[in-house]
Symmetry: C4
Subunit: 254 residues, 4 copies
């Protein structure tokens, strides 16, 4: 059931479905081929559902041990809910099915697996960043909230601080605030320094750990093993030699 031909068919259906969903974003195309596109989308969904059912049947409970399978299951399952097409957010989520292709193309699967492995290692840094965002947010809202629309409430402030941390027009925000609070630059420079540094650290840590994981597999140096075996051979040889010499002494003393 998991044969190669079967996978090719599924990949083809995914691609066709992705193209169909892309076409449905165009009003002109929808007006003209709306019915055909809708039909194709339903057919694709039916194929996915059937394929999923077949895989669940074939693998049994083991099916749910793989997070890739969970992803497939949720993405297809959401589209099957009888909620009507009225809810535009669900219509938008349909395109997530296209991401299923990642689990079917080996090279992409490997890349995503490598990236995913890096996630646990960065939880502490991500938590630190979230903490900084919260602390900075409360501080900035208390300090500047009264006069600046960008720091009016905690949510808006958090977005503004995230913007500053990514370096997007931070100087404009700072100048704006400095008109009312001339010393605001102390806060901004401090936050920029700490925030950017932590964020940079976060990104680089992810990348490095992903690369480490990738390289770790082929790290056994072959020459070293060879040399070790040579040293062992030498030791054996010397011990045999000593035996010879001993037997020589023995034969002499007799």
């Amino acid at each position: 059931m998991d044969s190669e031909r079967f996978q090719s068919v599924v990949i083809a259906v995914i691609v066709v479905n992705a193209v169909v969903l892309g076409c449905q974003t165009s009003d002109a195309l929808t007006a003209r081929f709306g019915d055909v596109l809708d039909l194709l989308d339903r057919v694709a969904l039916a194929v996915f559902a059937a394929e999923l059912a077949a895989r669940v049947y074939a693998h049994g409970p083991r099916f749910f041990r793989s997070s890739w399978n969970w992803f497939d299951f949720v993405v297809v399952g959401v589209s099957l809910l009888p909620l009507g097409d009225g809810i535009s957010i669900l219509r938008a989520l349909r395109i997530l099915r296209a991401l299923r292709i990642v689990s079917l193309v080996p090279s992409m699967r490997r890349v995503v697996t490598a990236l995913a492995k890096a996630i646990p290692g960065i939880c502490a840094l991500a938590g630190l960043l979230a903490l900084l965002l919260y602390v900075g947010g409360v501080m900035a809202t208390t300090l500047f909230g009264e006069h600046s629309a960008r720091f009016a409430d905690l949510g808006t402030t958090a977005l503004t601080l995230l913007q500053i941390t990514t370096g997007d027009s931070w100087s404009e925000v700072m100048r704006e605030v400095m008109q009312d609070y001339p010393l605001a630059w102390v806060f901004f420079l401090g936050y920029l320094l700490v925030g950017t540094f932590t964020m940079l650290n976060l990104f680089i840590a992810v990348v490095c750990s992903a690369m480490d994981a990738e390289r770790g597999e082929d790290r056994v140096p072959p020459q070293r093993a060879e040399r070790d075996s040579m040293t062992t051979a030498l030791l054996d040889e010397v011990r045999a030699l000593r035996e010879d010499v001993r037997s020589l002494r023995g034969s002499e003393h007799t």
Copy 2:
């Protein structure tokens, strides 16, 4: 006193306090639950003060050897000063107590310690960057100060140069100045090159040294030690053999 249960309580109080301070940024919530929030904040502060006093009492003078403890002490101490709530900057600093959680959660503590270790190694680079900012600031104020508001005095210029170094809308600043000084691009490109390069260097140096420190701990290659002991064994064996041969010669000459 430093038992695990005690720490959990302190962590819980920190989280509650952080949430309370977050709620106080909202006018709507303050209007409705202002008294409760104020009370909760005071209770949390009391808990912190008590916990701190207990720890100072338990550890004695050793308490002040750890910079984590100093941080706790200052953050809590500031809130206890009888300065009134009128000073908004002090109100804003209260949220810094939430950072205490870093010293209590081991994984975060490790990350921050690793980052802190990197700091001494980058002082020279940071000094270089400050020097560049000053030299560039004096130069730009002398050259463009007359016609451009962004370079009116040394402080404003330093902020503008920092903005350029981070790459935030540098081209807009340059175009503005070039209307009065057509050759200003020479200064801007030069400063952008040197400044960005130094800053990049600075960030990467920090990250690298932090990672080096982290990896340095588990770097002793176990195979090498084993091989060394094998070579030693070999040498012993050969020396023993030579003794044997010598005694053989001796026995012969007798």
Copy 3:
């Protein structure tokens, strides 16, 4: 034919041609020296064509095995097509001839070869990024297409998402959309996180693999080889010694 002097002439012609094409972008210079510049351009093209013909003749079919030669062939060939100067895109492509200098200067050739080697290793990541752009594009067009001009159709949305991924004014775009869809920040932050992370990964992967390739060449540690030969010598010595001892025993038993 590929002699050093010949190459110097070709490099000189490339540089002159590049300067001529640069001068032709200036209306003032074209008005004054238009005929001379045109003539120089034609002469340069003639030299290139002759040189290319000579190389094809000299190397025969082997000529087309090198991708550098293909590049030369296409760049010169395009200019020889009898399409008239009316098509401005072809006029613009003429300057690509200046890139031929990369294949003639060894140090640049090495750098570009190193970068090119990195390309196959990143196809999976690039594919992942394209997939994200498509999936995000369809999603954003479905969600925000009705009210926001930046997400009107799939092409425009893809450009906007690329802009967000590079961090260029992403907060401005988000704020604009949030006026109509207050929850749009969920999509934006999610996309920013995943997109930036993948893109960063992509770039760093390229750079790292390029550096790895560069270093890979001179990685044989010379000391190790020496040590290995010493161990071999030692083994030989011990074996010879054992032969000696054996012959000693043999001579004794006789």
Copy 4:
């Protein structure tokens, strides 16, 4: 003459001079203390000139072998030229004297030396970037020069392309051009990809080679040397042993 105390005095004069030049950027301070500041500047310059003369006298022609000395010489020499204070560019250059401090503080000197060492290794990449800028500049001027002020002539275009390469508001520039040339995105995306990639490569290469240089000094693994000497000892031992055995055989045959 190069004694430590002498250096401390020079460092102090440099710092005072830098502060004086900083004060001179302020109109208020100049109006009040203008004469004092001018006097201090002249005194500092006199000290520098005297110190430089002393060093040239002490070291003789060797003085000009160090590029640090050349820097000192040029920076002080420029200020001594009898050009009058009217030329504001020369007034601005005076602050470069503050950079002399880099050559006097060992830790800064080491950092700058490390960065400087990295420069030769990146010339090929920098040349490639300049070539890309020129080729892209000619192409963009030819294509968009007619309708877009940002691409009016080669110089303006080069600045715009540099802006795009650093990712500063590239989408704004692109959208502006796309109003007249709807297909302009092909050029922009292509240039952004190639340009950003090369630039990133350039920066990372610099940083990496600087770090390599720094680490290269303390890379000799001490254990390995020890192990090698042990192997040598072993070989000597075995050879001596063989001599013993030979003499044993000799004594026997007699």
